[in-house]
């Protein structure tokens, strides 16, 4: 064998660090693009819902100056590159450990960052959501930074209790769901920003310039909705798979362990969000807050529960 496990593990670390560096550059490019839009009082072109619906693909609302558009394109290219580096880091990590690369907290974060990046790029290929880039990249960068500094664990074998094919299924589902929820949360947050400016009528005022550079509330809402209805069943599946694994491993499928509790809270908030979206008077802004609460619960489950609360999932390795 040319690459032994040690070399592969080091290679993986190298790729992850490179991904961080490239994401940082992508963040700069995206941020510069956003700043440029805010600085130049761009004319607002109302976008047509019907057109959006039929064409399905992107027109930016505000026509950014060409330098801004270039910066945005650079940001996206860098994001794709960083995503590929992240992917390489995850794959080599899996090869080094000889198992699926999600066996401890460090690896969860790597894969979740990957899932968020993938979800963003997938949406970008169909929707005018480049304005999300700066936020998604910032979140991913934060997560990866936390992974390499606080959570780093050397590649190695699984502890026996994790050695189950349910690890592959349950954790993969949870991570995929988390990645897509991230895009949903960014869309929801930006929807609230844009909505507030539109309601105050300040979209064209200097204060509202950032909001003006965003896609319309309609597009933002649709992207958020698509992300949520895609991620919610995946999250449901992750919870069910987790329950089956818990039954297999601990003899009870539900025990209100902190991790289980927060997965439940996340699920219930998103369920409330979907119901609110179908309720007159709650649709839009109010419903959005439930989605954000769900994402906050997801984040707390992912980081808070592992770091601060002891429970049966605490061996997940910090």
């Amino acid at each position: 064998m040319i690459f032994d496990e040690q070399t592969l593990a080091q290679f993986s670390n190298g790729l992850v660090y490179s991904a961080i560096a490239v994401y940082a550059l992508a963040l700069l490019a995206y941020a510069a693009e956003a700043a440029g839009q805010v600085a130049s009082a761009a004319p607002v072109v109302p976008d047509s819902p019907a057109h959006n619906r039929l064409a399905g693909a992107g027109t930016m609302v505000a026509a950014p100056p060409s330098s801004g558009r270039l910066l945005g394109a650079v940001g996206t290219s860098l994001t794709v590159l960083a995503f590929l580096l992240n992917l390489g880091g995850v794959v080599t990590r899996g090869l080094a450990a000889g198992r699926v690369p999600w066996g401890n907290m460090y690896e969860f974060v790597l894969v979740c960052a990957l899932a968020a990046g993938a979800a963003y790029l997938a949406f970008l290929s169909r929707r005018p959501v480049r304005a999300f880039g700066v936020w998604i990249v910032a979140i991913v960068l934060l997560a990866l930074g936390l992974a390499v500094t606080v959570l780093y664990t050397p590649a190695g074998q699984l502890v026996p209790v994790l050695d189950s094919y349910w690890l592959v299924i349950h954790v993969a589902a949870a991570i995929t769901g988390g990645g897509v929820f991230t895009v949903g949360a960014v869309a929801t947050g930006l929807f609230l920003v844009r909505h507030r400016q539109e309601r105050r009528g300040t979209v064209q005022a200097p204060k509202g310039r950032y909001a003006a550079s965003l896609p319309t509330t309609r597009t933002l809402e649709q992207v958020a909705h698509t992300a949520h209805i895609f991620a919610f069943p995946i999250w449901t599946f992750a919870v069910i798979a987790g329950a089956i694994w818990a039954e297999n491993s601990w003899g009870r499928y539900w025990g209100w362990d902190p991790k289980e509790t927060w997965a439940f809270i996340t699920w219930v908030f998103y369920a409330a969000h979907l119901h609110a979206q179908a309720t007159a008077g709650w649709r839009g802004v109010r419903a959005s807050w439930f989605a954000l609460a769900g994402y906050a619960a997801f984040l707390f489950n992912f980081f808070g529960v592992n770091l601060w609360i002891t429970g049966l999932h605490s061996y997940a390795g910090v």
Binding site: V159, P160, V161, Y315
Partner: protein
């Protein structure tokens, strides 16, 4: 993987058992006689009794035990351990009743559980227990044998088997002298067809 922090060897177990028994004893075929002691007493009418499975084991003094060797006799089985505090309060009671009913043909057999032989022998030595006990290592068959009628359910518990090999009474928790004496004497008296 971490062992549970507190293995309270059943503080308040008797209480828990009492609750459990209260809920499970609504079958109607067993008479429950609350007593002054902590134990929960169930005396079973002759026609409702069920057979206790035969079982074997080894005794603390080294010999073998086979429950079928005692066929035709009333036997009092006591489930105990040297670590068990209530077992200590009832040990003198058991010793006394065993001596008093020996002439009636009643035999006492201990079933030592979750213990080690040295500690168990030291316990018997302290309390002057004369009757034999099955060792912890070979106690599983004995413990499960009563499941076909009523299982012991707690440490201590006392099970009275009639001359036909059927469970006549169960005392979950420590017993007092008058209760045990009454039950054992009455069960022994059943053997006499004249009564």
């Amino acid at each position: 993987m971490r062992a549970s922090r507190s293995r309270s060897r059943l503080p308040g177990l008797t209480c828990l058992i009492a609750v459990a028994v209260t809920t499970s004893a609504c079958a109607g075929d067993r008479a429950r006689t609350p007593t002054a002691s902590d134990g929960v007493v169930e005396v079973i009418a002759a026609e409702d009794r069920r057979q206790v499975k035969p079982f074997t084991g080894e005794l603390l003094d080294g010999g073998p035990f086979d429950s079928t060797d005692l066929d035709g006799q009333v036997i009092v089985y006591n489930v105990w351990g040297s670590w068990c505090a209530p077992c200590r309060t009832e040990a003198p009671v058991l010793k006394r009743v065993a001596e008093e009913t020996r002439n009636l043909g009643v035999r006492f057999v201990g079933i030592n559980v979750r213990d080690n032989n040295a500690a168990a022998r030291a316990f018997e030595d302290s309390y002057g227990i004369e009757y034999p006990s099955i060792t912890t290592d070979t106690s599983s068959d004995a413990v499960l044998a009563f499941g076909s009628a009523l299982p012991p359910s707690a440490v201590p518990s006392t099970l009275v088997v009639d001359a036909q090999g059927r469970l006549a009474a169960r005392i979950v928790g420590p017993t007092d002298r008058s209760t045990l004496s009454t039950i054992v004497t009455e069960t022994a008296a059943e053997r006499d067809p004249g009564q």
